[in-house]
Symmetry: C2
Subunit: 329 residues, 2 copies
């Protein structure tokens, strides 16, 4: 079989293999979007843990708005893998992060799942090429990397391995969009994908600082929550620095702060700021700004940061604080 058994719109049942924090979070997300979910996890007490996870997530999902017919009652914990994937139109694997385990498990899932059904792995960083080695039909195996908790954070990174067929990557991307995800479809394998490479660089610098007594855990968290972290849900790091350049944008920012790139501000060495890299960054920001002027982007950032701050930290005694989002968003 060299293609999907149906379209993403045909799916009514999703199988979740592995029911830890991530697998349980996926189950909650699919349930909230109105799917039946069949879950299997070989661990002791997995069914009870899964119920607790879904129960804990449900108030948040209700707040966000449930799909028609969505119910935690549509969750079935099955005693075997075969029963979980039976009748599933999509399989999400979220087992512990161990390469030998993923290899064997994905081969088992592949053997048990009807042909043409896409199987996605929640792996945090293994390339699918390394995980699909034991599977009989590796063409329908993709990475679908979520962020914790999968029922709230929209991002999913989708990428195939060398033996993955292109239709599976496209099908998974479309399916995730259909269930409300923000999808980045990567055209090549990269350890850690994109978002984990970015947050891992930050995380390693944080660990170095704690290891050297340069900052405490609490100072590191405050530095982010009260600093750059307030901008990042509004504009990503590139557009943020585009605005830091003032009206000259990313071009001025790179030309002015270029020398700081060589400063020992982090333990990560910077790439050489070639003309080509500078021009790519400038062109990328122009493309992303999509015609919004500097003043418009500044106003957008200001409205966004204010909305975030008022949503998270309403002034004491201001009972209408929550309505700031209305004006500020």
């Amino acid at each position: 079989m060299s293609g999907p058994v149906g379209t993403p719109g045909d799916v009514t049942t999703v199988a979740c293999v592995g029911a830890g924090v991530i697998g349980g979070g996926w189950a909650a997300h699919f349930l909230a979007r109105g799917y039946a979910v069949r879950a299997w996890d070989p661990g002791d007490g997995a069914a009870e843990r899964l119920s607790r996870l879904v129960e804990a997530a449900w108030p948040a999902l209700t707040e966000l708005g449930l799909a028609d017919g969505a119910s935690p009652e549509r969750l079935t914990a099955t005693p075997t893998l075969a029963e979980a994937v039976e009748g599933a139109g999509f399989v999400q694997e979220s087992a512990p992060e161990s390469l030998p385990l993923k290899r064997t498990l994905l081969a088992d899932i592949d053997a048990a799942t009807p042909q043409g059904v896409v199987i996605a792995s929640s792996t945090s960083g293994f390339p699918m090429t390394d995980m699909q080695t034991e599977a009989s039909t590796p063409g329908r195996l993709v990475v679908g990397h979520p962020f914790n908790p999968p029922y709230l954070i929209p991002l999913v990174e989708v990428v195939g391995g060398q033996r993955t067929e292109p239709w599976a990557v496209e099908w998974a991307s479309e399916f995730y969009r259909r269930v409300g995800k923000s999808v980045i479809t990567m055209d090549r394998e990269l350890p850690g994908f994109i978002a984990n490479r970015l947050q891992e660089a930050l995380w390693r610098e944080a660990l170095h600082m704690v290891a050297n007594g340069e900052a405490t855990v609490e100072q590191i968290d405050t530095a982010i929550t009260d600093g750059p972290g307030l901008r990042w849900p509004v504009h990503g790091p590139c557009l943020t620095f585009h605005l830091a350049g003032g009206e000259g944008g990313m071009a001025h920012m790179l030309d002015h702060f270029g020398p700081s790139l060589q400063a020992p501000w982090t333990r990560l060495e910077a790439p050489e700021l070639t003309r080509a890299l500078r021009d790519d960054m400038v062109a990328g920001c122009a493309s992303e700004a999509a015609g919004r002027t500097f003043a418009e982007l500044v106003a957008e950032r200001d409205r966004g940061v204010i909305a975030v701050q008022r949503a998270l930290r309403p002034p004491a005694g201001d009972e209408d604080a929550g309505t700031a989002g209305e004006h500020g968003a």
Copy 2:
């Protein structure tokens, strides 16, 4: 003179030296908090640019709430440095990021400013030890590093140089808190301080990815705004990973994902995960959690992420979307 001329509560006038994006942002912040601001910048058209910056920021500041008597009319652009610092109870320097320039300018500001008045530099990363070399009374010179825009992002990192007197660091920290800032007072100099080291590590990884054609500018920004960036205004990177560990918290997270630290997920090498570092991270998270249980932290994160999402991206047609913050905060 070995101490301050007055308390932070005595200040009524602030001098802003340098009126670019950062200096202008500081001026807007101090004006909104009810201070008179005297600003000097030797550049062509600086006074007009400063007026535009304050004007652009004022709607956001009005939305956040102005102090009694706050008015953009209380801004005076002066033709000389001496006139700017005359009568000021605090001086904020925000000149371009050049070490020779900062050295000379801080010496000039020091010479013109009455004794006992604290002078803070907005430098993005130079240690004060390297900047205070030419000043006659370096004891009152501190770093007060803000984030763009200074009128919205609360974080200020305060640290002295080798010749800075401890009272000046304490005085500046107290003054910034008084004007509504979230202050991290560092006990040692570190290039890039704390927040810039963290975001610079992320930024360098992003530049490497663009330079190698591994990701586009837009993919990098989406990876943050729709992924980890949604969590970071709620919980910083340490508490975020504390929750990624499930009920086992940071201890389980480090024990389980410890091996990924050695994976090539970023170009930044990880520190050795010694027992001491592991224990410091675990203890730091426990201290920061301050008695909040895993379930309470998860609920807090979920409410926070939902509040952020609804504030920034209200569902189409949902006119009450902005009130989500009220329930979610």
